[in-house]
């Protein structure tokens, strides 16, 4: 690929060897990005990870929260923000239990999600099914333009 670049492309100006090197490095960077991060898209790095989708009338915020009970979860909505916080508890097992693996984690979490547009905060609905939280946020009625009369 690089050889073709070097020999087939007519050079319009004098290119220093460092240009080629810089280009190669960019290409390598891109290669590694593709290979290492198949779905690390725009994660904010805050628990829980969320998926945000929309249709004509609503925004949908979804998060995977296995083992979290509805009363351990707090959701607040403002004009265009949604705050999700809570605690994931893992009950203590009986004494004398010897662990082979312990990968599940307990702890508190708190996250703020910015929504792309204004929402109707009165009609936000949240449900928790099979460990997946779904918050349905209706979009706000578009504010009607007001007529302003100019006085002479």
């Amino acid at each position: 690929m690089i050889y073709r670049r070097l020999f087939n492309v007519p050079t319009w100006r004098f290119r220093s060897p460092f240009d080629e090197l810089a280009q190669l490095r960019r290409q390598m960077d891109r290669l590694f990005e593709d290979a290492t991060a198949p779905y690390q898209r725009a994660s904010a790095g805050v628990f829980p990870l969320i998926n945000l989708t929309e249709d004509k009338n609503n925004y949908y915020v979804r998060a995977e929260l296995p083992g979290v009970k509805p009363d351990e979860l707090e959701i607040q909505a403002t004009a265009n923000n949604l705050a999700i916080s809570g605690e994931r508890k893992i009950a203590a097992e009986e004494e004398g239990a010897r662990y082979h693996r312990r990968e599940r984690e307990a702890g508190t979490f708190s996250r703020m999600i910015g929504l792309p547009g204004e929402v109707d905060t009165d009609k936000v609905k949240a449900s928790l099914e099979h460990g997946i939280l779904t918050v349905v946020v209706p979009k706000a009625e578009i504010a009607k333009p007001k007529q302003i009369t100019v006085k002479s």
């Binding site: 198949p38 779905y39 690390q40 898209r41 725009a42 994660s43 904010a44 790095g45 805050v46 628990f47 829980p48 990870l49 969320i50 998926n51 945000l52 989708t53 929309e54 249709d55 004509k56 925004y59 949908y60 979804r62 995977e64 929260l65 296995p66 083992g67 979290v68 009970k69 994931r88 508890k89 893992i90 009950a91 203590a92 097992e93 009986e94 004398g96 239990a97 010897r98 662990y99 082979h100 693996r101 312990r102 990968e103 599940r104 984690e105 307990a106 702890g107 508190t108 979490f109 708190s110 792309p116 928790l128 099979h130 460990g131 997946i132 779904t134």
Partner: protein, 136 residues
């Protein structure tokens, strides 16, 4: 786990399966996070499987190999458009090798809020009996 009250949860990317066998069905496959502990009577396995319904979960135990497989139905409506996607969902798959003999008839599985709790009772070993020798 009383000492975790103030701990803040950190983001952990879902683990994609790197399974020995290649998957034939399309789609992503993930490894559920598990806790495994044992007492004298049984082995208990807890697995985080958000989005899995009881009907979609298969638990298979043969020759000391325990296999968990779960399909999930897509949760999103058909006319929804993605704005931000931080996690993907797909099937779950994980295999374990058990060191102990398990009493297959008494296996108990519960699925609550996306968490599977699987109890695997050990086979009761013959308890040593003391045999009295009579004289006579």
């Amino acid at each position: 786990m009383a000492d975790t009250e103030s701990k803040e949860l950190k983001v952990r990317e879902k683990q994609e399966v790197t399974s020995p066998a290649e998957q034939t069905a399309p789609g992503l496959v993930f490894t559920p996070a598990v806790d495994i502990f044992e007492t004298e009577k049984e082995i208990t396995l807890l697995a985080d499987m958000p989005g899995v319904k009881a009907d979609d979960l298969t638990i298979d135990l043969r020759d000391n190999t325990l296999t968990l497989t779960a399909d999930i139905a897509p949760i999103e409506g058909s006319d929804e458009e993605d704005i931000l996607i931080e996690y993907e969902s797909g099937r779950y798959y994980r295999q374990f090798t058990l060191g102990e003999l398990i009493n297959q008839e008494k296996i108990d599985a519960k699925l609550n809020d996306g968490v599977l709790r699987l109890s695997l009772p050990k086979v009761e070993k013959a308890t040593p009996k003391r045999i009295a020798v009579k004289t006579g």
